[in-house]
């Protein structure tokens, strides 16, 4: 575009500037935790919850809630960035890392390079395995020390905080290994396939 128009009289109303290395371009800091979902909040009882690890159509491993709770727990404190522009700093999440899930499933190496996460209600999102291993991705069950509320994706939410937060799928139930990358729900509806907030990859073509 030729020239950026200046909005005279418009100025930052932020009391203190967040350090640049904490806030990706186009984002602003919020202190509350907005809920954004494409449909109704699902109420999932942990008795009925399982998490499955799949390769193509075959089941590699499945955990009940009770079994999942016995897996090694990891707690992380990090920032989250929603594509709708809000970022929330210093949020604390607890769950099981993707690395520990692989280990618990008896896998020394991930069998394919891509994951499709499937949620109750039909939501899907695709994530490269490289963005899940090495402690980068988890399946979380606690937020700030408490069970994750259904509206925020409880009982269990995929957690990939270095990508826009739609990749951290609410109500996650299945992680399916794929040989080739396929697009998930928002990725098929005009949103970016990868979603790196630091490169502002919000929409297709960004």
């Amino acid at each position: 575009m030729a020239e950026t128009p200046i909005s005279r009289g418009f100025k930052s109303r932020r009391a203190e500037q967040t350090p640049k290395d904490r806030l990706p371009p186009g984002q602003y800091v919020t202190t509350d935790f907005p809920v954004l979902s494409a449909g109704p909040t699902l109420q999932i009882k942990v008795e009925n919850w399982t998490l499955a690890l799949q390769l193509g159509g075959s089941l590699l491993r499945q955990w009940s809630w009770a079994e999942f709770e016995t897996l090694p727990q990891t707690t992380v404190k990090t920032d989250i960035h929603c594509v709708t522009k809000w970022s929330k700093l210093d949020t604390t999440w607890q769950g099981v890392t993707f690395d520990d899930l692989l280990k618990a499933a008896g896998l020394t190496n991930p069998p394919e390079a891509y994951i499709m996460a499937h949620s109750d209600g039909g939501y899907t999102t695709n994530v490269p395995v490289a963005d899940l291993v090495g402690g980068k991705g988890m399946v979380t069950t606690r937020y700030e020390g408490l069970p994750i509320l259904p509206s925020h994706g409880g009982p269990a939410r995929l957690f990939v905080p270095h990508l826009y937060f739609w990749k951290s799928a609410k109500w996650v139930r299945r992680l399916r290994f794929m040989e080739k990358d396929e697009r998930g729900f928002w990725e098929s509806l005009g949103y970016h396939n990868y979603g790196n907030p630091w490169k502002e990859q919000r929409y297709d073509g960004d």
Partner: protein, 254 residues
């Protein structure tokens, strides 16, 4: 639910929007009628990102729903002033006709409805959440579609009802459209309409039953959307037929 849409890969570039007109909707809501040269068109329910640049170079981005139908030449954004907000007080209070800012879109291909989607069309709005639903109703009216439609619209008071006259006129000329205003805090003398927050009784009575498979769109404050969409599921509406958009104090609109 996963649609196999081929990604276009076309970049959504920032475009220049010029304010042609500003319409006062309520004491805290205005509609910005924008001329966007080369606008590629949109579907009812979609939104845009806007970017404001201050004199010192500071930039802020926000998302706003489009309230105009695709049939209209100017693009309309309806903005509610959020107290302590950064962008909306500027848009509602300071922006003038002929001012310019940057915009890109349209964005979102899920929360959309066209006459081709069919009906019945059931819209449920809270406050400024009416904006994307108004684009659907305006589109439906422009197309003279005889698709049964119902709008449940919750506002604090009669003075807070956005597009009140237009909605009244639309409904009075259209036997297939019903508009139900709900006033939760203050009602004028003799008000015969609902005066409580949208509850199960209201959603079960005189609305489309699940057997008619209505296309349902719920938009408004997160608390209203959470409550209404959960009640609709309890009433056995298909969860996949309920599309939601939540406006939080710092969600999609601020």
């Amino acid at each position: 639910m996963t649609e196999t849409v081929t990604a276009s890969g076309r970049r959504l570039d920032w475009q220049l929007a010029q304010v042609r007109e500003i319409a006062v909707e309520t004491f805290r809501v205005k509609s910005l009628l924008l001329h966007v040269p080369g606008w590629q068109g949109h579907l009812p329910g979609q939104h845009v990102d806007i970017r404001l640049t201050a004199e010192d170079g500071y930039q802020a981005q926000r998302s706003y729903s489009i309230s105009s139908p695709p049939e209209e030449e100017l693009l309309t954004l309806t903005v509610e002033k959020v107290d302590n907000g950064e962008v909306s007080p500027y848009l509602v209070g300071d922006l003038r006709a002929r001012d310019q800012f940057e915009l890109r879109g349209p964005i979102g291909r899920y929360f959309v409805w066209t006459v081709a989607t069919g009906g019945p069309l059931w819209l449920i709005a809270g406050g400024s959440g009416i904006a994307p639903l108004m684009a659907m109703l305006r589109h439906r009216a422009r197309q003279k579609a005889r698709i049964p439609a119902l709008l449940l619209y919750s506002s604090r008071s009669l003075e807070d009802v956005i597009y009140r006259e237009e909605l009244d006129a639309m409904a009075s000329h259209d036997p297939d459209l019903r508009v139900v205003n709900i006033l939760t805090r203050k009602q004028p003398t003799g008000w015969a309409g609902p005066r409580r927050r949208i509850d199960k009784g209201l959603l079960a009575d005189a609305c489309f039953p699940p057997s008619q498979s209505p296309k349902i769109f719920v938009c408004g404050p997160a608390s209203l959307v959470e409550a209404v969409s959960s009640l609709l599921v309890e009433l056995e509406h298909d969860p996949l037929a309920i599309k939601t958009e939540r406006f939080g104090p710092s969600g999609a609109v601020s």
